[in-house]
Every structure is written in structure tokens, then in C-alpha cells.
């Protein structure tokens, strides 16, 4: 990296110049007779909406793409295989149907030649099809994770926005609350809450988890608001008499969307692991419901005996979390304003 002319780095695309050239067009397009370079630049810059710039940067992020693909695959597999909400799926076995155990419930999945067999992931003690069970668990975990993400996003954004925009007492009040909640490690507060709500079912469980995991987001959003509210376009909106409501939602919020989305994805991947941790503490989802966390926890002692019971759900947890994390990273790069800063 010490050598700036080292062509090794040239292979990597950069958005710096496209931005730089933006400024270089300070002659009216009407009058300017564009040179070759000019036309180049016009092409690189013309008609690129904010959205498209972001999309392009995102799609340049290989990891994120892989993440999207993986997550989509998992979603598809989980919901299409055993179906959802009454809609039947293509997998012929149900996760709660008992059956005779076939070859001590060993997995029948073979990669080469690829074939699923009777029970791709094997069977549990009662002969339940472990593939169906894992899929069910995946569904639950995904649902939980995304609800948590959603709830955290809504609360966090609202709190952050109000605190950041109105400052003064509102801010003091809201941020102290945030500090209070932030003092308690997520696992801890979640564990305390889970005791109450776990038996109430998956949805309330997820919602409560969301209620305890919004703090980080609130802080970030507040930070964004603090800087954005000083921006001239906000002043300009004020100067034409836009209402606080309009300024918050029409002017500032759209500009914080990056931060929000990014930290929401992280909240989601966090939720997956949180659910697992709680299951481990015996505070998570309760049977007959199942989740990936519950699945691995129930089969801890099976690691050396029937590894598939322990490893398959684990693999899915990691898969989901990994995918979401990469997507988050991609989004961060895509939204990050630093990416567009001109360095000369």
C-alpha cells in the first residue's frame, strides 16, 4: 500500500472520481462542449439516483451478495419445504409426526450423487424427521429475529429521532432512559424478561426481546440527527416554515435510513444468537414450539453420539447470522457517506 502507483490496487473500483468529476462540471451542460474525458464523466455520473449509487456500491460487495443469496436460500428452504401457516410445502414429512426410526435415525443426505433420502438430517429419538424439525426451527428463529429487528428499529428510531431533534429536556429524558437500559447487558435483561414471556408464545417473546434491544440503534440515530439538524438544508426547510414533523420525517429521517438499516440488520443477527443463548439458559422458546436454539440445546449431549442433531441446527444458525452480518456490512459500505468523500 506504500506505493500509490502500485497497480495491484487499481483493480479495485472506486467512486471517488465519479464524485470529483461532479464538481468538475461547473460549466452549464447547455454551453459546455464536452471533451472525451468529459463525456466519460457525464456517463459515469448522469442519471445516477442516490438509490442507484447505493445499489451499485452494494452489489459491488461480493460478501453481501453471497449473504443475500444464502439468506434467500435459507428463507426459501425453510418456508417452502414444510410450508407455513397451513400452506403445505414440498417436503412430505411434518416436524411433529412420530415415525419408526430408520437406521438409528442417521441422516440419509448424500451429496454425491446428491439425494435427500428419507430423512436428510436424520431423526430424533421419537423418529421425528429432523429435517422438518430443523426447518420449523429455522422458521421460528427467522420470525423471532426479524420481529426483534423490526421492534428494535421502530423504538430505537423514534427515541433517537425525538432526542436528536428536540434536544433539551426531551433529549435528556430519553437518553437517560437509554443509558439506564444500556447499563444492563442484553443477555441479562433479556433473560429476566424471557422468564415472563417465553411461555406466552413466539410473537410476544420476540416483541419483548425487541423492546430490550433498541438502545444501540437509538444512540446511533440520535447521533445522526444531531449532525443533520445543523445541516443547511434543514435550516432552509425551517426558513420556509416547514413543521417539526415535516422536518423530522421528510427531511432528516430519509437521510438516516442508512444507519437505521445497517444497525437493524445487526440487531437481527444479534437476535438469532440471543435466542440461542436464552434457549441455553432454559429461558427461550418452549416445546412443542421449537427453534434452532432450542434444537441445539436439547441435543447438546448428542454431539459425539448423533452429531447431526447438534450440528445441523448450529449450521443454520451460523448460516443465517453470517448472511445477515455480511449483508449488514455491504449495506454499511453502500450507505457510508465516507465512500463518496473526495480525496485529492
Amino acid at each position: 500500500m506504500s506505493n500509490h502507483q502500485n497497480p495491484r490496487d487499481d483493480s479495485r473500483p472506486s467512486v471517488e472520481l465519479s464524485e470529483m468529476t461532479l464538481q468538475s462540471q461547473d460549466t452549464d451542460i447547455a454551453t459546455a462542449a464536452p471533451t472525451r474525458a468529459q463525456t466519460d464523466r457525464i456517463r459515469t455520473t448522469e442519471a445516477k439516483s442516490q438509490g442507484r449509487l447505493i445499489r451499485e456500491r452494494f452489489f459491488r460487495h461480493k460478501g453481501a451478495l453471497a449473504g443475500i443469496a444464502l439468506l434467500a436460500l435459507i428463507f426459501l428452504l425453510a418456508f417452502s419445504s414444510i410450508g407455513f401457516a397451513g400452506i403445505p410445502g414440498w417436503w412430505n414429512k411434518d416436524y411433529d409426526v412420530l415415525a419408526a426410526r430408520f437406521n438409528e435415525g442417521r441422516p440419509t443426505l448424500t451429496l454425491w450423487p446428491f439425494s435427500l433420502g428419507e430423512h436428510p438430517f436424520g431423526q430424533d429419538v421419537l423418529g421425528r424427521d429432523y429435517f422438518a424439525l430443523t426447518m420449523r426451527g429455522t422458521q421460528t428463529s427467522l420470525i423471532i429475529a426479524f420481529i426483534v429487528g423490526l421492534v428494535a428499529m421502530v423504538i430505537g428510531t423514534t427515541v433517537g429521532a425525538l432526542a436528536g431533534y428536540f434536544r433539551g429536556w426531551t433529549e435528556a429524558f430519553l437518553m437517560r432512559i437509554t443509558d439506564v437500559v444500556i447499563t444492563i447487558p442484553t443477555v441479562v435483561i433479556a433473560a429476566a424478561v424471557a422468564g415472563i414471556v417465553a411461555k406466552a408464545g413466539i410473537i410476544p417473546f420476540a416483541v419483548f426481546l425487541g423492546i430490550v434491544t433498541w438502545t444501540g440503534l437509538a444512540r446511533l440515530v440520535r447521533g445522526e440527527f444531531l449532525s443533520l439538524r445543523e445541516k443547511e438544508f434543514v435550516e432552509s426547510a425551517k426558513s420556509v416554515g416547514a413543521s417539526s414533523f415535516r422536518i423530522i420525517f421528510r427531511h432528516i429521517l430519509p437521510n438516516t435510513v442508512g444507519v437505521i438499516i445497517v444497525s437493524t440488520t445487526l440487531a437481527i443477527s444479534g437476535a438469532i444468537l440471543l435466542e440461542t443463548a436464552l434457549s441455553y439458559l432454559g429461558l427461550g422458546v418452549v416445546s412443542p414450539d421449537t427453534s434452532l436454539g432450542k434444537a441445539i440445546n436439547d441435543n447438546r449431549s448428542a454431539l459425539t453420539v448423533r452429531p447431526w442433531l447438534f450440528l445441523w441446527p448450529g449450521a443454520f444458525i451460523i448460516g443465517i447470522a453470517l448472511a445477515v452480518n455480511f449483508i449488514g456490512d455491504g449495506l454499511r459500505d453502500a450507505f457510508d457517506p465516507k465512500q463518496t468523500r473526495v480525496k485529492q
Partner: protein
């Protein structure tokens, strides 16, 4: 500064107050304290209920009950008067002694994990930033995300099975087939090549050297039964000390000024002498002596290096001190390693335990006891470290990249400063500024993670107190746990801010 601390302390106090309220009511509303008595019968049941009611003040309505608890805490804050118990748990035992016992092991775990994660994370993070978009960068990115995504106890279970148990079995009779040795060499070579980078030719040479060296070293270690009786030994110490000296000089001063290098080597020499002197001194010792030794070494080398450093006194002396500390660290490690054979024998030839935080009735030397601690720490620390390591690398990388894009880095380069100076002097400190804040949050996070880790590795730490407390709907222990965690959280936030101001002169604490 002082003003700031006072102000923050007051705010923190109220925050803690609110947090405890929240925590307390969550806990007592999380279930039925008599849950376990359902099957019971006879006077036994009534008696237990009576006892528990008395111990937990269950006959008092929640809000006054909370204040009773606060009162108990107050007794601990206000010296004199009623003895400090932090309330009673449901068996009627005072919570404070339990906490005192639990805190030790937990903090040991958390602190070691945090420090390790911090150091490793920062170093790797910076290297990835420097090697941005290199294979190394990509692989580290992937690995850290993978670690991010690992369920803690899932990982821990695997660690036990495939690290502890198998490694122990191997250590019982340490040997590798030549093929394995070769393979390890190759792997090491690849890693080095990737880390060092550069063009194809350079990578190849690096690969070759590293692979051969590693394999050879491993072979020698095996044949010399190093894994049975580890330790550095005189020559090893001498060489390592010199190595350390060169390393630090390379990092902190560069080799342009010979005087500094000589000073560094002199310091290393002092360190080595210190080692010789310490051999009888440290046969069996305590932390105080060890600490004293470190200080003495540091001071002496500071002076010596300063003198040798001549015109570059200031810089040389500092480096000298750093080297001295590193060397004394090396001495300690060497000592611990030497204690290994006896300890391993005491552990029935399986030195790495999967459970507990220390061996029972280990009547051994200072070194054996600490090595025992260390060995018990291995698994849980790995589990905890791996995860926050990921966080640190990512953040360090981002912040380092950001700094490398700053104008003043360009200025530094325009001055013709060496890349080392640019990185170490100009970039590093700036890059560390955001990390301080991260540390504050991460520490609280790790404490949370300890809840799981302790459970998995059968530590009787605060985490266990908390989990048991929650399961028994017993606020006493839960709150005690939280008092520590919460305080740590606010404290670290304050420290972070102070560190922030220390690193960044533009910030003034008020």
C-alpha cells in the same frame, strides 16, 4: 477533569438507581419463588415457605421490598452501622460473601478475555487495514464475521470436545507424523505469505522460509520433548530478549538511528541479567515480588537505555522500559511453563480442564497455582475472546482506514516520513480514539457473555449467581450480579471518555 468525574459519578449514580429498579422488578415478576415446592408436602413445605418468606421479605409488597433491598445496599455504601450483606438470598444466606467469592473468578475471566481480544483485535485490524482488499484482509473479514455468528455455547461445547479433550490426549504423548509436521509447516507458510503480501516472488520466498522454519521448529520441539518439559532456557531467553528488542525498535523507532537500536539491545541485556538474577529469586514467590522485579527491571533499563541512547535519550529510555516489561513478561511465561510438568502430573496427565475455575487442594508453588489458573482460563477465554475479537478487528480496521484517508496522513507522507512513522505515530493514535468508546460497550457485553460461558465451563462465578437467581426468582443474587455489571458498565463509560480526552487533545472534559 475532577469536575467531570464528579459530575459523571452523580449522573451514573442515578442511572444505576433507575437501572436497579428496572432490574429488580423484572426479576421478581419473572416467576414464582415457590415454584420448586409444588411436589413437596408436609411441614417441610410450610417450613420452607416460611423460611423463604422471611429471607426474601415476600410478606412485604414489592415496592417497599425494593426499598428494603436498597437499604441493604445502603449499608454497604455507608461505613459503620449495620453490617453489609447486600440482602439475603432465598436460603437466608447473606449475598455479599457469595458475590465476593464470585467476582474474583469472573473478573479474571472477563479481564483476560477483554485484554486479549483488544490486543489481538487491534493488531489484526490494523494489518487488515494496511493490507486492504488483500487476501489476508478478505480472509480476516470472513473469519471475524464467522466468529460474530457463532452461538457461544455451541462453540464452547465444540471447544471442549475437540480442543481440550483431544489436545489433552495428544499432550499425554506429544508426537506428530512427519506428514502432519509438513502440513503444519505448509499452513504456517501460507498464513505468513498472505500476511506479508507483496508480489508473487516475495510471497513465494516468504512461504518457503516460513514453512521450513515452522516445520523445523516443530520437529525440534518434538524431539527435544519440549511439550513435556516446556520452557525457554538460557539460550532461548537470550535470543528471545534480543528478538524483542529488535522488534520494539523496529516498531517504535526504526533502525535509522543506530544509537537507539544499541540502547534497545542494552535494555534487552539488562532484562537477561534480570532473568539470571531472578532464577533463585523466583523459585517460589508472590505477585508482590514479581511486580517489584518488573519495576526494578523497567527502571534500570530505562536508565541504561537512556544513557546508551545519548542524544536520543528520551526515546531510547522509553523503548528500553517497554523492552524490560516485555522481557519480564517473558520471564513470567517461562516460569509458568517450567511449572507445567509437575502440574500436569498433578492433573493426572490431562492439564487442560473442561470445567471449574481452579483445581481443588492444589498445594503447589506460586507458579503452579497461577499456571493452574491459566490452564483453567484457556477454554472459556478462547470462547469469550474469539467473539469480541471479531468486533475489535472490524472497528479497528474501519477506523484505521478512515484515518489513512485523512489529510494529515498525506501531510506526513509529504514530509517524507517513513511508512512506519506514518502508521505508528500519526495513524495509530488517531485510529484508537473511537476504539476507546467501543471498549466501554464491549466490556459490558463480555460480562453478559460470561453468564453463558461460566455455565458451560462450570465456573462458580457471577454469571452462575445470576442464572440461578433468575431461575429461583431470587432477586438477592441477581441484583448483586447486576450491581457489579452495571457499575462496571458506567465506570467503563466514564473511563472511555477520559481515555478519549487523553488521546484527543481537542476534547476537554467538563
Amino acid at each position: 477533569m475532577f469536575y467531570f468525574i464528579v459530575k459523571r459519578t452523580i449522573i451514573s449514580f442515578f442511572i444505576m438507581l433507575a437501572a436497579t429498579t428496572l432490574m429488580y422488578f423484572l426479576t421478581i415478576s419473572s416467576g414464582d419463588p415457590f415454584e420448586d415446592l409444588g411436589e413437596a408436602s408436609g411441614p417441610e413445605k410450610a417450613a420452607t415457605i416460611a423460611a423463604r418468606t422471611a429471607a426474601m421479605n415476600l410478606d412485604v409488597p414489592p415496592i417497599p421490598r425494593y426499598f428494603l433491598w436498597l437499604q441493604d445496599v445502603g449499608h454497604c455504601l455507608v461505613p459503620g452501622g449495620v453490617s453489609c450483606t447486600l440482602g439475603l438470598d432465598r436460603t437466608g444466606a447473606a449475598v455479599l460473601p457469595q458475590l465476593e467469592n464470585a467476582v474474583g473468578s469472573t473478573l479474571r475471566l472477563v479481564v483476560v478475555a477483554t485484554v486479549l481480544a483488544l490486543v489481538l483485535g487491534v493488531v489484526v485490524g490494523i494489518v487488515t487495514a494496511i493490507r486492504q482488499y488483500s487476501t489476508f484482509d478478505y480472509s480476516v473479514t470472513f473469519i471475524s464475521f464467522l466468529l460474530f455468528s457463532l452461538p457461544l455455547f455451541w462453540l464452547s461445547t465444540l471447544l471442549k470436545q475437540y480442543l481440550a479433550i483431544d489436545l489433552n490426549t495428544w499432550l499425554a504423548n506429544p508426537q506428530f507424523s512427519y506428514l502432519t509436521i509438513a502440513l503444519i509447516g505448509v499452513v504456517a507458510g501460507v498464513i505468513w505469505a498472505v500476511v506479508v503480501g507483496g508480489d508473487r516472488r516475495r510471497r513465494l520466498t516468504v512461504f518457503a522460509i516460513a514453512a521450513v522454519a515452522t516445520a523445523l521448529a516443530l520437529y525440534l520441539l518434538l524431539v527435544s520433548r519440549w511439550f513435556v518439559t516446556p520452557g525457554l532456557g538460557l539460550v532461548g531467553m537470550l535470543v528471545s530478549a534480543a528478538g524483542i528488542a529488535v522488534l520494539w525498535t523496529a516498531l517504535l523507532a526504526g533502525f535509522r538511528r543506530r544509537r537507539v537500536l544499541h540502547a534497545a539491545l542494552a535494555a534487552a541485556g539488562v532484562g537477561f541479567v534480570g532473568y539470571l538474577v531472578s532464577i533463585p529469586l523466583l523459585a517460589d514467590t508472590n505477585w508482590l515480588i514479581v511486580l517489584a522485579l518488573v519495576v526494578v527491571l523497567a527502571v534500570v533499563s530505562y536508565i541504561v537505555a537512556g544513557v546508551v541512547g545519548g542524544p536520543f535519550r528520551a526515546q531510547a529510555a522509553k523503548i528500553g522500559a517497554v523492552i524490560a516489561v516485555s522481557v519480564s513478561l517473558l520471564i513470567v511465561v517461562d516460569r509458568l511453563l517450567q511449572a507445567y510438568p509437575t502440574l500436569s502430573a498433578k492433573a493426572g496427565g490431562r492439564p487442560i480442564p473442561t470445567t471449574g475455575s481452579q483445581s481443588a487442594n492444589l498445594a503447589g508453588t506460586f507458579w503452579e497455582i497461577n499456571l493452574d489458573y491459566a490452564l483453567h482460563l484457556i477454554l472459556p477465554t478462547i470462547a469469550l475472546t474469539l467473539i469480541s475479537f471479531a468486533t475489535y478487528t472490524r472497528y479497528t480496521r474501519a477506523s484505521q482506514l478512515d484515518v489513512m484517508n485523512q489529510d494529515y496522513i498525506r501531510t506526513a507522507r509529504a514530509k517524507g516520513l517513513s511508512e512506519r512513522t506514518v502508521l505508528v505515530k500519526h495513524a495509530f493514535r488517531n485510529a484508537m480514539i473511537p476504539i476507546t468508546t467501543l471498549m466501554a460497550f464491549d466490556f459490558a457485553g463480555v460480562l453478559g457473555g460470561a453468564v453463558i460461558t461460566e455455565q458451560v465451563f462450570g465456573w462458580n462465578g457471577m454469571g452462575k449467581m445470576f442464572v440461578d437467581g433468575i431461575q429461583n426468582v431470587d432477586p438477592g443474587p441477581v441484583m448483586a450480579f447486576f450491581l457489579v455489571v452495571g457499575t462496571a458498565a458506567v465506570l467503563f463509560n466514564m473511563l472511555a471518555d477520559i481515555a478519549y480526552a487523553f488521546l484527543d487533545p481537542r476534547i476537554t472534559l467538563s
